[in-house]
Amino acid sequence: MRAVLRALRASGLGAAPTGAPLELQSRGDDPPRLETVTPLEGDRLAVRQVPGAPTAGLRAFLDGIQRSQVVAHAGTVPLVHGAVAAAVRCRDARRLRTWGAPRRREALLLPGTALSPALVTALAAQVPVLDTTAGDPAAPAATHPQELTARALTAVQRMREAEELALVAAWVSDGDGPLLVDGGISGSPEGARDPRVIGVVKSHRTLYAPAGAVPLVLGLREGERTTAVALHSPRRNPVASWYLRLRDAQGRAPLFGLVRVEVAPLGDLTARADEVSRWLLAERTPVALPDARWDVMVYGIRECEQYLTAILR
């Protein structure tokens, strides 16, 4: 951040972090929706009690964080500092340690088409610069500042995802044992094909269930899962997925304690889904409080997030 501020000041811009981080200003604007799916266990979506006692089977946890903030304006054009980090925290004797080195990246995000080339060149000579309009011929030269910050935010999200995907690939190449990724794994070609990589999705703006099966998904009781389904997307890799209720939701919101699990669609999926579900149920302790998402967040991911927060400061 300091280097970015220095570069901006050297270029004659009054630079100072202003306003809240973009992540707090921007809410998910995608409307909630239902997505049709292809059952992989049986011919329709069904409820299944996870058999056996929860057992610890996960070896490592992967998470990434991002931070972006407007640090200057060139005229009316907002310039955004973005920083991302990702890490794998490996469990050994019940304690978590960083696997390899964490990945970090920061950049000054700016819309190149809205700024003078001289300014962009001058800044690029001093700090890493990421043009949020590069490769977009439709990008306007002048537009609403919030659209530009939204572009910057999207670019920072991509930066974070890129670091996370790089770590997934590294784990597939050199890691040992099951890796739990915070979020889906369909964006990772390596992860979506490796049985050791497991994704856990905590938010459910898209519910992967036909309309008639929504009560079934939301009616899952603690320790129950849905049967696995196949998720396909033109820009993503195919994965097998199912819903799992981690905690008793009686008297709470329907999504309380509900996660969606993604794994590579390989082998005996019923046995695989049961085994992975047992692992996830075992991760309910220690509880991830005081994180607001504690009902769906396993402690390893929270710990990883705390680690990243510490190193990104």
Partner: protein
């Protein structure tokens, strides 16, 4: 070689570092605890020098990322055992607070910088405690007090002789609960260490130890039976012989019956080394204030006592009222003097004699006359004196004065007179040694923080405040430091603490200690001490070896107290110390001549012991029918004050 990194300094706005305190975190299994000495190495030079900070850990914190204990309850579904099965342990921190011992360079004095934290090496400990100024070098004067041990580091900790025995500062106070604080053991060890390490150029040193309870100090000339290899290793590493004191002299008053000495060291094998402690009129009258209370010593009585001291005792006294000249040398002489004088006054119906009223005279006669009753065994009617060898004290010798079986009055008189005599002799440089360590146990009894201002307390205050210039050094032990007069403990430059009572630790005198340090003090093992010394920036914990002497408890088992002897046996045992061929039969033959005069027999025995004649039995026989004047130890010599060696004192 740089020692491995133990931790890292951290500082936050809420918990900042200061020039006297800093914080650091460590791995969970780091070998660090309360009292560990650490060293901070900074990478940011100040004035071209990389600062190095030494500190001692005074507080420790451990916590996890839990915001409230309720979260753990929720996570474990209210089942305490469930947490143990969690696949991941919560992130946990060990955060320590350390008090700065020393910063190098000392100027500019800044807040402790960020840096890596290492366990102190032996050299670091020496630097941290500023021992480099007086241990080693051309003129060493370090006195080992124990060993600092932590995290694999073992380093000898030395006191500065100039600050333990004077003249810069002096005195030592040791506090702790009875039985667990090992106060007596610590003092015995420190005296042995002083004898072994005080350089010759610092002069000759002796110790006078008052044994005030049980057999504590009765066998310090005998080897220990409980010394293990670890103790011997400590003795070796600290350069102190693991042996009992080679030169010890014991003194004890007679038992009230007079047949045997009032000590637990009465076993036949050890009797030789105990010298009777008996004083006559002159020795006692000088300290009459000790035995008289405020009602006794009003101005009129005081004037008469002064008159007796100055005009009557030890000189020929004549008066018109007296039929004969009197030379008062003993309480018996004094009683005879009073008796004749008062009878004469009554016969002539006089109420006044030389400005003294007859009532005052009767009162003083009564008060002085019962000295020998109140201190029977110590104070003799006949003036026989057997005393400590003031003027002939020997280097590296311990003089044990056993008053454990004496009444409080007698104990007070012994303290007052012995210490005053030591002071007088040291002032005149005529004691035989240049400095004397006076060990007084139960200091809260003799120099209490409240209560009457007794002679003994005034005397102890005087030693504490002025003794260092004379070489008169007080080693005081007490259970409760808070109950000892603050000027006595306040003047003790060196303070030792064994295991402490929690209530005592709650008193204001311990406010400067961190809660964790107090907790450690309350649970200290035997053989561990916390040391405060002028050179140490903070209190330090050390371990010392068990004394290499026979403890009182072991001593009474190995050398059981002899049975109370009959009169014949008491005389025989005493005379056999001078001539082993003397038998009970021979003694009985002589005693037959004396009839039932038990006091006369014991008086004759005492005089024989004092004279140590070549023919003890014949001398004893002669004493049975002869009165002998009391022996008096001479005193002489100019007074000289001790001052710091100018070569050692840059500001001198």
């Amino acid at each position: 070689m740089t020692p491995p990194v133990l931790g890292r300094v951290v500082a936050t706005e809420r918990r900042p570092n200061t020039p006297h305190e800093f914080h650091f975190w460590t791995a969970l299994d780091a070998p660090v605890g309360i009292g560990t000495i650490v060293c901070v190495e900074s990478t940011r030079p100040v004035d071209g020098v990389l600062p190095r900070v030494y500190g001692v850990v005074t507080e420790g914190f451990g916590y996890t990322d839990l915001q409230t204990p309720l979260h753990d309850v929720l996570g474990a579904d209210g089942e305490p055992g469930a947490s143990a099965f969690a696949p991941t342990e919560r992130t946990e921190i060990r955060l320590y607070t350390a008090a700065v011992l020393r910063q190098v360079p000392e100027e500019p004095l800044q807040p402790v910088p960020m840096g890596t934290v290492h366990l102190a090496t032996e050299a670091d400990v020496q630097a941290a405690l500023r021992m480099d100024a007086y241990v080693g070098g051309a003129a060493p004067r370090g006195i080992p007090v124990g060993v600092y041990r932590a995290g694999g580091t073992e380093a000898a900790v030395h006191l500065d002789a100039d600050f333990l025995l004077g003249p810069e500062a002096a005195h030592l106070a040791i506090s702790g609960v009875s039985g667990l604080a090992t106060k007596t053991s610590a003092v015995q060890w420190l005296i042995a260490s002083t004898f072994a390490h005080l350089p010759e150029r610092k002069g000759r040193v002796a110790a006078v130890c008052f044994n005030v309870k049980g057999p504590d100090l009765c066998f310090i000339d005998q080897p220990a039976v409980r010394l293990d290899d670890a103790d011997r290793a400590l003795y070796e590493s600290l350069g102190v012989p693991a042996a009992p004191f080679p030169r010890v002299r014991y003194f004890a008053p007679w038992h009230a019956r007079g047949t045997h000495l009032a000590t637990l060291r009465t076993h036949e094998a050890l009797q030789d080394a105990v010298t009777p402690l008996t004083w006559g009129l002159r020795e006692t009258l000088q300290y009459a204030e000790v035995l008289l209370n405020k009602e006794d010593i009003d101005a009129k009585a005081d004037a008469l006592i002064d008159f007796i001291k100055e005009r009557v005792v030890e000189q020929r006294f004549e008066d018109d009222l007296l039929a004969r000249p009197h030379t008062v040398r003993s309480f018996a002489d004094l009683e005879a003097w009073f008796k004749e004088l008062l009878q004469a006054m009554e016969a002539s119906n006089r109420e006044q004699w030389r400005t003294h009223h007859i009532a005052t005279m009767r009162k003083v006669r009564n008060r002085l006359g019962n000295f020998s009753t109140r201190c029977k065994g110590l104070v003799t009617d006949d003036g026989t004196v057997s005393d400590l060898p003031f003027g002939a004290f020997e280097d590296r010798t311990v003089y044990v004065v056993d008053v454990a079986q004496s009444e409080d009055d007698a104990q007070a008189l012994v303290f007052a007179r012995v210490v005053s005599q030591l002071r007088e002799a040291l002032e005149k440089r005529a004691l035989g040694v240049d400095q004397v360590i006076v060990f007084v146990d139960e200091l809260n009894k003799y120099a209490p923080s409240d209560g009457a201002d007794t002679f003994v307390r005034k005397m102890l205050l005087d030693i504490a405040e002025r003794g260092r210039y004379l070489g008169l050094v007080l080693f005081g032990a007490q259970q409760f430091r808070s109950q000892v007069h603050r000027r006595v403990v306040g003047n003790s430059a060196t303070q030792l603490f064994g295991r402490m009572d929690a209530d005592e630790l709650a008193t204001p005198g311990y406010q400067t200690l961190a809660p964790a340090t107090k907790a450690r003090l309350a649970t200290l093992e035997k053989g561990q001490l916390m040391v405060r010394h002028p050179h140490f920036g903070q209190p330090i914990f050390v371990r010392f070896p068990r004394p290499a002497v026979l403890t009182g408890r072991d001593g009474v088992e190995r050398f059981p107290t002899a049975a109370v002897p009959t009169l014949e046996m008491a005389v025989t045992q005493a005379l056999r110390r001078l001539d082993p061929t003397i038998t009970v039969g021979k003694v009985q033959d002589v005693l037959a001549l004396a009839g039932d005069d038990e006091e006369g027999i014991l008086r004759a025995r005492n005089r024989t012991l004092l004279a140590r004649p070549e023919q003890p039995l014949a001398y004893f026989k002669k004493q049975l029918t002869t009165r002998v004047a009391a022996e008096v130890v001479g005193r002489a010599g100019p007074a000289t004050l001790r001052t710091p060696d100018p070569a050692d004192d840059l500001y001198g």
